[in-house]
């Protein structure tokens, strides 16, 4: 009731008119999820709103407080902005499913651009549609101006607008060319996230290591031949 009034009172406020009503709907029916969503230009503001930590509106603060009250039922999901990764995306999903990621919220440009015209496609859209159809991922199809940072939009949208992520205790901030590698003692990511008595934590930071192909080996061989 209060939600509807707030929405009526603040029709232009994204959090009052969109985020809070959605959260309410999801709380009522947490298992009825759509795996294809659209993130239109009206949500582009989420790429920046809240990035300073200071809520821009009363409803935004209410929304953040409301999200903190949700009790998660599942363990681990991943959020990533993906584009131009084509056939490589599937391997990334497979890799992280193996590591215990239960669901993926993937932000990728819609098959049609913000102008309604089809955009150049590298096959990502078709792949996401197929995976979303099977419930493996949720495809949030973005249709925003090119200057909006896709990662920032994904982070802002997932943490403020998307209710579904609240069903997971942990969220991996991923990228399609970044592959999590738990050490030998931990076969999967959830083991890393197991509670440490007396030392609760909200963020696990993993070092990032650049991997590359076996280039110089071949190069050295070639050079020897040349001599």
């Amino acid at each position: 009731m209060a939600r509807e009034r707030l929405a009526l009172l603040l029709p232009d406020d994204l959090w009052a008119s969109r985020a809070l009503p959605r959260l309410g709907r999801w709380l009522a029916m947490p298992d009825e999820v759509r795996h294809e969503r659209r993130c239109g230009p009206e949500l582009a503001v989420l790429a920046e709103a809240g990035a300073s930590g200071l809520p821009q509106s009363f409803a935004q603060a209410v929304n953040a407080a409301a999200r903190r009250l949700v009790a998660p039922r599942r363990q681990l999901c991943a959020v990533a902005a993906v584009r131009d990764c084509g056939p490589l995306l599937l391997e990334w999903v497979a890799h992280h499913r193996r590591l215990g990621v239960e669901h993926f919220f993937l932000y990728a440009p819609a098959a049609t651009g913000s102008d309604g015209l089809p955009r150049g496609d590298d096959g990502t859209a078709g792949l996401l549609a197929a995976l979303a159809g099977s419930g493996v991922v949720t495809w949030i199809a973005t249709a925003v101006a090119p200057e909006v940072d896709p990662s920032a939009l994904a982070h802002g949208h997932a943490l403020q607008m998307l209710a579904d992520v609240l069903d997971f205790r942990w969220l991996l901030l991923g990228a399609p060319d970044e592959f999590a590698c738990p050490d030998a003692a931990h076969p999967a990511l959830p083991a890393l996230l197991a509670p440490v008595p007396g030392r609760p934590f909200d963020v696990l930071a993993l070092p990032a290591l650049s991997f590359g192909p076996a280039g110089p080996g071949r190069g050295r061989r070639r050079r020897r031949r040349a001599w």
């Binding site: 709103a49 193996r98 096959g123 592959f179 890393l192």
Partner: protein, 826 residues
């Protein structure tokens, strides 16, 4: 693909990657989670150590062997470059950042990476999970489609690196990159990728120049200009990236109606041209003409009132040659421009191969001509003949293809004349048909008198600089090069009022071994049309009766027709281009005629032989005798010294292979700009022309050295005072007399005492008088000759009268004495 990543950098990248609880956080800023004020949170590293908040969060002593996130941006060089390129494509103007590419290459070659098999060892398990995903409905098909798109992009990228040396990457980096790209395992055949050619990358631009003006098409002059504002005559040029060849831009006037223009003088006139894009170090763009490899230059001298032309004539690109692209919204792109680009893209996606060229007409004639004309610079010179064969050999497609070039003389006349069985084949035509079909064709008689109408006037300019005027023009050039000649030597000449000399000149060259004469007549008013008609009817020559319109050079039109359209000359291995006052000679002690001389030349590679000119001065007939009674070669024996000739003494005449030419000047052959001719002197040495006359560019017309020993051309510019007067009066207005300087020049050579001699012209053609008599005996020839003589006498009487009233004095009076005239006061 991670299974190939078996090395890593020794130390972690400073910024950590995060797993976080979704609820307390509002956002992530520079890698740091952001929570609302007053909400406390804590972070730790995998080993349990606390992590200090910060942007981005840093782990104090990261353990590379512990839990990490593997950054796999550098799976392969191909991957890295592709990602960079796709980023550029998003901006609709694909380009590669040279610093980024160089950095990638450095990393690729880095020897200090340490082995780490974590990803490799985990790959089999990932593979099992991958197979499970692929079993889901639609996933395998979508994965296949994505792989196809990747391959298509790689194909474009490789082609781009191979074909666009100025694609913003320095040569050394580019070469390494290309070799690495080619070395990286290709995932599928290019053929498959071509089917999935990418749609994206079709950016549309206008270009601003170094002084802020905009590149326009001048619709009136038909050229590119830099203008500050569009008018009815100046429309902004539209530049479209060709999707399958992102290093190429299609430039056109942004109009719905076709607006033809040229990129450079003498170049093709077409509504759209391809230009090659390059990049300057500061990210601006350069435009390069494909055939000439020269840059467009917008000198900053255009003003709002005076748009300046933008020529494509610079060898290097600097500030004036750089342009700044401004994207154009789709709504400003006319339907015509889009359709044209689509057709061109379809053509270029496969080569353009012969099959693609022929298949083009399957989709209708619209813009087929534009696409073929634009793609022409990309077709290698060597394959033009093969393409011509493919087009001409395909009765169905070929005819439709040529029909999409209405009004084009090569599509309408030249190619069909070479090929069509419906036309009575001349021997030259038959021989190309023979090449195409493998069957000899029967020779058929050809008309000896043909009229060249004004519709062929464009031949005067088309190809004169060696540029192709259209796609059918290029095909015709390719087809003509294939014709096998059956005979040795023909002669091509333009004649105007040459009646008094015609029989002698024909007789001389017949004795020298010339087998056929193609004479282009224009504006004859000495009665020699009747003589030409009689000789043509007797089969002595082919008379090409030119009706060129005003402003058209009859000489240029004749050469353009002879070497661009006329099939008959192709039956001859050699064509001598000469005027009616010039007589080719050989050393009679070494050669029994021009064919023997040419056989001797042919021992070397040779396409044209330059003959020096021997200029003979005037000789007055004995008192009471008529110069017209004696052949000019028998009368004029005073060989003028070089001092009297100046730079003109170095001019040459040439015997060239007609199948290798596209046009000619009076002095030298012109071939298309993508081929070269082997030019030789009469002595068989390379014909060099490094030292042109002062103020002129190097021109094969001016020989560096004089080698007239083996063969030469005897030139009789004056004959006698009366003949000189006749020649000066040719085409002149009534009452218009030669200027005093002309008279002085004539008198100077007349007075020259230190003259030489050369009797080869006598010894080469000993039976001249008999041969003249044989010609004169042909039906109608003697009567026509008498008509010429009467017309010349009548005109001479008028010219003599005018000369007497000219008021010449000083040494010019000497001329009147020679003419036997007394000055008459006006």
């Amino acid at each position: 693909m991670t299974e190939r990543l078996d090395r890593r950098l020794p130390e972690p990248d400073g910024a950590a990657r995060l797993l976080l609880r979704p609820a307390p956080f509002l956002h992530v800023s520079d890698g740091e989670p952001v929570a609302p004020p007053g909400i406390a949170w804590s972070a730790r590293a995998p080993d349990g150590a606390p992590v200090a908040p910060g942007r981005p969060p840093r782990i104090a002593a990261p353990d590379p062997a512990g839990s990490v996130v593997a950054l796999c941006r550098r799976r392969s060089v191909e991957d890295m470059v592709l990602a960079l390129w796709r980023e550029g494509r998003e901006a609709h103007l694909p380009r590669l950042d040279r610093a980024a590419v160089a950095g990638l290459l450095e990393l690729h070659a880095a020897a200090w990476m340490v082995p780490d098999r974590r990803l490799v060892d985990a790959a089999p398990q990932t593979r099992r999970e991958l197979d499970r995903l692929l079993a889901l409905p639609g996933v395998a098909a979508a994965q296949e489609a994505a792989a196809q798109a990747l391959i298509a992009d790689l194909v474009v990228l490789r082609r781009l690196l191979r074909e666009a040396p100025r694609f913003r990457i320095p040569g050394s980096v580019e070469a390494r990159l290309l070799s690495l790209l080619l070395e990286e395992s290709a995932t599928a055949s290019p053929g498959r990728a071509a089917a999935a050619a990418p749609e994206a990358g079709a950016g549309v631009f206008r270009l601003s120049t170094c002084n802020g003006s905009l590149l326009h098409v001048d619709l009136v002059e038909g050229r590119l200009v830099a203008a500050f504002e569009a008018t009815a005559d100046h429309v902004p040029a539209l530049l479209q990236v060709v999707p399958s060849r992102p290093a190429l831009l299609l430039v056109s006037a942004g109009t719905e109606e076709p607006a033809p223009f040229v990129l450079r003088p003498g170049g093709m006139r077409a509504p759209a041209h391809l230009l090659e894009v390059g990049w300057t170090t500061d990210g601006r763009l350069t435009l390069c003409d494909l055939p000439s490899a020269r840059f467009a230059s917008a000198a900053p001298d255009s003003t709002p009132d005076h748009p300046a032309p933008v020529p494509l004539d610079r060898d290097t690109a600097a500030e004036w040659e750089s342009f700044v692209p401004a994207p154009v919204s789709d709504i400003f792109v006319p339907r015509a421009a889009r359709d044209r680009l689509e057709r061109l893209d379809a053509l270029l996606a496969t080569g353009p191969s012969n099959e693609a060229v022929l298949a083009l007409v399957d989709d209708g004639p619209a813009f087929a001509a534009d696409a073929l004309n634009a793609a022409l610079p990309l077709i290698p010179a060597a394959s033009l003949g093969e393409l011509a064969q493919a087009v001409c050999g395909d009765a169905l497609h070929g005819r439709r293809l040529l029909a999409s070039f209405p009004g084009d003389p090569w599509a309408a006349v030249a190619l069909p004349a070479l090929l069509s069985p419906a036309e009575p084949p001349a021997r030259g035509r038959g021989r190309l048909r023979e090449v195409l079909s493998g069957r000899p064709a029967a020779p058929a008689p050809r008309p000896a008198h043909r009229v060249l109408g004004a519709s062929l006037d464009l031949l005067a300019e088309a190809g004169r600089e060696g540029a192709f005027s259209s796609f059918p023009h290029a095909l015709a050039v390719g087809a003509r090069a294939l014709v096998r000649p059956g005979r040795t030597l023909c002669l091509v000449a333009t004649v105007r009022d040459e009646g008094p000399y015609l029989l002698e000149w024909l007789a001389h060259h017949r004795l020298l071994g010339v087998e056929a004469f193609f004479l282009y007549g224009h504006g004859n008013d000495d009665g020699s049309d009747a003589l030409l008609a009689a000789l043509a009817a007797a089969g002595v020559l082919v008379w090409l009766d030119d009706r060129a319109g005003p402003g058209v050079s009859p000489r240029a039109k004749a050469y353009g027709h002879a070497f661009g359209v006329l099939p008959d000359v192709l039956d001859f291995a050699w064509a001598l281009v000469i005027d009616a006052d010039e007589f080719a000679v050989v050393d009679p002690d070494r050669f029994d005629g021009l064919p023997a001389f040419l056989r001797w030349q042919e021992r070397r590679e040779v396409d044209a032989v330059a003959l020096n000119r021997l200029v003979f001065g005037s000789t007055e007939p004995a008192r009471g005798a008529d110069w017209a009674d004696t052949p000019v070669t028998r009368r004029c024996r005073r060989l003028l010294d070089a001092r009297h000739l100046g730079e003109g003494g170095r001019l040459v005449k040439t015997i060239s292979r007609p199948a290798r030419m596209v046009h000619a000047t009076a002095y030298a052959p012109v071939t298309d700009e993508r081929r070269m001719l082997a030019l030789r002197t009469a002595a068989g040495e390379p014909h060099r022309f490094h030292h042109p006359a002062p103020g002129f560019p190097p021109d094969p017309a001016f020989a560096d050295v004089l080698r007239p020993e083996a063969a030469a051309v005897c030139h009789y510019p004056q004959g006698s005072a009366e003949e000189w007067l006749l020649k000066r009066g040719r085409g002149a207005e009534p009452g218009q007399v030669p200027g005093i300087e002309d008279v002085q020049t004539f008198m100077a050579q007349h007075a020259a005492r230190d003259v030489g001699a050369d009797d080869r012209v006598l010894r080469c053609a000993p039976g001249l008088e008999e041969e003249i008599a044989r010609l004169r005996a042909l039906p109608g020839v003697a009567a026509a000759e008498a008509g010429v003589r009467a017309a010349v006498r009548a005109r001479l009487a008028r010219l003599r009268d005018e000369a007497a009233r000219a008021g010449w004095d000083g040494e010019a009076r000497g001329l009147l004495d020679l003419l036997g005239l007394a000055p008459v006061e006006a």
